[in-house]
Symmetry: C2
Subunit: 257 residues, 2 copies
């Protein structure tokens, strides 16, 4: 259903208004896909579209996907209008609003063998990069703490190249879920620079592991470090103080896969 | 030598003017350190300061370092002035201009055992992340092709957390330096998704290797792939199309270190 729009205050565009404010988004029942590729991946992941806001040039490419959803409004406007509505420069001028998929249950999480658990990772680019590498390296799922960023926030999906829509994930109700993972047979493996941790090259992971990754600045909290069964560290020179958390996730994710 | 400044057109501030234009920077005889931490690392790496442009609040912290350089002008201005001069919002309001250190010679490069060679990597964040991980994991040096970004561009240094100043690196005169590496006993190892490459987990690196990493979009050129002695690929699921080049560098850099 094509609808031309030219008024940035048009109430029908509310799904796309003020997208720069990440705080407002987490509890909503939808997510925003930015750019043709992520929109295509959202359809491919089986997500139900609510509305599109596009420059006219994307219509042909999306037509085959939209044919199956004749009732979904497709708002067509200029690049300037899309920027005015959303509040930011929209990469390649295409936005899709989709119903937010259900998060995985704890039971679904524990049916796998390799999980990543993020404590208060707030940077969307880092979280997206972690999701991309976890999905790419065959990890089964991702848990994020209550204080972590939203894997389905626009920029996190983009940084994940759409893998946020493929990899099962859930937001933890509370830190007690760490113990539920242990009860389900997972060893909690803390990635840490703390003294006394095992060099990664000498660590032999068990059958089921949950890799705990800490936030960008301080790393894992004392509580999470104490909860861990094992502590591993990536062997490093003294030429750098630390590695970026997404970089560490890539190295650990490959070595422990 | 403290000098208060309040005129954004002050010619003495030329080192700090118009820093957003990356194209102009590569051939200059200086580099710009952004933020107190990177300025400190530049001093620690033995780089000679040319001038500073700071908010007053950073003076105390830098005083011990600047004491050794009484002739270096330290321009002190407001956050707004620094933004007007540089053309961007300066993270934490401190800029340092330093003499550009000499690049490593090819002979210095080939005295090591583990080198990374970047073909046309143009994204400063990716290049900086590769340098950070290479330095952190103990690689001996980095070569960049003629078309690659500048490891000493402000944002690359920042993304490397200052490792650009620690890890020996050089810009290749031409692709012929690949053969010079081979002549010096290095096996050229191409990171590639091409069919017929060896899964990383089954690859045993030789005594001396140079890891070839391709640009963000197309990957390694045909010419570089042909020049390689070995071709390795990171084992991946079909949930993602590819990994980010800095992510791939982290995985390969750890596995082949």
């Amino acid at each position: 259903m094509l609808i031309e729009v030219d008024d940035r205050t048009d109430p029908r565009l509310r799904d796309f208004a003020g997208l720069r404010d990440a705080q407002l988004r987490r509890d909503e029942d939808r997510f925003i896909a930015e750019g043709l590729k992520i929109i295509e991946r959202s359809f491919a992941a089986g997500c139900a579209p609510r509305a599109m806001l596009l420059q006219p040039r994307w219509l042909d490419g999306l037509a085959p996907l939209l044919d199956a959803w004749p009732d979904v409004p497709v708002y067509v406007g200029s690049e300037a209008l899309i920027e005015q509505v959303s509040g930011f420069h929209v990469h390649r001028g295409a936005l899709g609003s989709f119903d937010r998929p259900r998060e995985a249950s704890l039971g679904e999480m524990t049916s796998g063998r390799r999980l990543i658990v993020c404590e208060d990772i707030v940077d969307h680019a880092n979280l997206g990069a972690i999701i991309r590498v976890a999905a790419g390296l065959g990890w089964d799922g991702l848990l994020v703490s209550a204080g972590s960023a939203d894997p389905l926030y626009r920029r996190a999906i983009k940084a994940s190249m759409g893998a946020s829509l493929e990899l099962p994930w859930r937001r933890m109700n509370d830190d007690g879920e760490l113990y539920a993972l242990q009860d389900a047979g997972f060893r909690l493996v803390a990635a840490t620079l703390a003294p006394g941790s095992v060099p990664l090259g000498g660590y032999r992971p068990g059958e089921r592991i949950a890799l705990l990754l800490g936030s960008e600045g301080p790393g894992l909290s004392d509580a999470w470090q104490r909860a861990a069964d094992d502590r591993v560290t990536i062997e490093m020179t003294d030429r750098v103080d630390s590695l970026n958390v997404a970089t560490a996730a890539a190295i650990l994710g490959y070595a422990l896969r």
